[in-house]
Amino acid sequence: MQLIQRKQSTFLTSLVSVLLGMLVGAVMMLVAGYDPIQAYAALLSSAFLMPYDIGETIRTISPLILTGLAVGLAYRTGLFNIGVEGQFIIGQLAATIIALKLDLPPVIHAVVAVIAGAIGGALWAFLPGLLKATRGVHEVIVTIMMNFIALYLSNVLVRNWLSAGADSTEKIPSSASLRWDSLSSLFGGARIHMGIFIALASALFMYYLLWRTTSGFELRAVGFNPDASEYAGMSVKRSLILSMMISGSFAGLAGASELLGTSGYLAIQGAHTGIGFDGIAVALLGANTPGGILLAASLFGILTYGGSNMQFVEGVPFEVVRVVFAAIILFVAANIVRWGTQKFRKKAVKEHA
């Protein structure tokens, strides 16, 4: 009974936070002299108006699901994986290398490249996991630093090895592409690709692993209380490393599928893409559950894709959408609903007594 109530309240927290966040955005638009109702209408309608938009919205959502899962899974084991961004880049890089340097038949080529991306991400997350497990080095510090190593490593390799001194690689051959023509044409030529299926499968995998297997139970137990888990005979070290690696492989999958499906080439990047960091927000809003993450990623994807249309139709700057994101996160983190309801409950208890 109590469990159900708690579930409801996290859902309510998220829902109310989203609405409050949008309200903050609306107030900002009013202050800046825009019509918030028109703007939100443009945002929502554009995300679903035409098949092309639906396709592009789904395309925006798929990497967010994966990076959200990556953050969420690590968090379940008590780890804060800020390095999703870096693991995402390594996933992109590994997929690009396979796509450009190997010559394989269609389908197999794409599958190998996707797997390479997952392995790349997992290995990139292995190091912080290992350091945490053996030396107790805080994973936040290590993963933040490794984000920069990943970014500049990717830039150096693109310039000196994967391209002839240009700022981006050639397009990947179609044999390695995750785009599927009949799926694209169904959505008016949008760049929707197999990444969404990878993302959904990963969400299922996370659910199955955490709540239906022994090692998943261990991962969660370590997250709740590492000392008790150790005492109960579980290997905390193994769980920490395993959790980081699975988390990293989700991030790597996100990078690989973005690259093989959406852009098709790897460019020199001056700064991080932000998809990995958005994953933190997605996981937080989704309460680190696969279902919640799917919903949260969908919301952020719709806001992101529809947000640029808000600029197109109503002239509202895209930054407003980022403010809405930030406000939502703030409300979730501050747990504003429980704060409100607790006060009320206390009063109710008094009245009953």
Partner: protein, 345 residues
């Protein structure tokens, strides 16, 4: 507890419904016969004090002189180029511009998908394979940069000048090589220090690179680094007047540091963009499938008009002299490393 949260829920649902109802009103928009043009910026954004802004100036001129309907979309990430271009294509614009060489993969793709629409790309020739519904506008940046080199080489007191590039690429290389050749031509013993920020947006990095160069003895720094260049101006402003100088790029950037800006290598993206649209509207001519390359001869690159404020007349005359020689093809300005080697010997 229940009542309060239900109240919040109810309010929120009201809000959603209200937003949803607004959706019907704003579709379509008026359909006139006016010339319409759309512009998609690269990740630099519309106020980049650089080529995106310059292109938008050209669009605004079209609005004034040609009565055109204009609109822009900013791209936040490289992945946004395609959907942004598509958004315009679905609205049927007369021409859709992609500003910056980063569009070199997205433009051919939309051009193929929307063969009835016309597109323009600035700063890239698509490797020579330009579709029939695309015009590629490029500039001879090396020629303009050569003149910057002439000014810097003549005015340096320390015989050390600097160059800050954005992301290393063939395009920025043209700026660098032209500048080095210009310095070399007037002052063979001067040394040019070259660094790349590997970013077009990192202002802080631009500032620290500039600071290092000035501390290292350089007294004039030329940048071709988009937003990174703002850092150069932030740094030079804090230094002694009349001793340390910056040279801007793309637009006349003297307003960023009026007392420290020697000159700017102005690239008239606005004129190029405007001229093509004017020709389309008035003569129904579109140079599809062609590369329009503009240099000193077309007055599309060169020193900013405010240059004479800090540059002495004697040197401005020298610049004019070199400009004439380049237009008359007596000097061939190098545009890459091999040509520079030949130029030196």
């Amino acid at each position: 507890m229940k009542r309060k949260s239900w109240g919040i829920l109810f309010l929120s649902i009201l809000l959603i419904i209200a937003t949803g109802c607004g959706a019907g009103g704003n579709q379509g928009g008026e359909k006139g016969e006016a010339f319409s043009a759309g512009l998609v910026t690269d990740t630099g954004g519309i106020n980049d004090e650089s080529f995106n802004q310059s292109a938008w100036d050209g669009m605004e001129k079209a609005k004034k002189d040609l009565d055109a309907k204009i609109k822009y979309l900013e791209s936040k990430r490289d992945e946004d180029y395609l959907p942004n271009l598509t958004r315009f294509a679905r609205e049927k614009q007369d021409i859709i511009w992609g500003v910056g060489f980063k569009f070199n993969k997205a433009i051919p793709e939309v051009a193929d998908q929307f063969p009835d629409h016309k597109f323009g790309i600035v700063d890239d020739n698509l490797g020579g394979k330009i579709p029939d519904n695309v015009v590629a506008v490029t500039f001879k940046e090396h020629e303009g940069s050569f003149l910057m080199g002439v000014i810097a080489g003549s005015m340096t007191k320390t015989d050390k000048v600097g160059f800050i590039g954005g992301i290393s690429s063939p395009l920025i290389k043209k700026f660098e090589v032209g500048f080095r050749a210009g310095v070399q031509a007037v002052n063979p013993k001067a040394k040019v220090t070259v660094v790349y920020a590997e970013s077009f947006t990192d202002v802080a990095k631009g500032r620290s690179l500039a600071s290092n160069m000035y501390n290292d003895g350089a007294d004039i720094i030329y940048h071709a680094a988009g937003g990174v260049g703002k850092g150069l101006f932030d740094e030079v402003k804090t230094r002694e007047k009349g001793k340390y100088w910056a040279i801007g790029v793309d637009l006349d950037q003297s307003k960023l540091a009026p007392d420290h800006t020697l000159t700017s290598m102005v690239k008239r993206v606005d004129v190029a963009v405007f001229d093509i649209m004017k020709d389309m509207k008035e003569n129904d001519k579109f140079p599809g499938g062609k590369q329009v390359e503009l240099g000193l001869e077309e007055d599309a690159v060169g020193p900013a008009e405010t240059s004479d404020k800090h540059v002495p007349d004697k040197i401005m005359k020298k610049v004019e002299d070199y400009k004439r020689q380049i237009i008359d093809e007596k000097i061939e300005v190098p545009s890459n490393e091999q040509e520079l080697k030949k130029f030196k010997s």
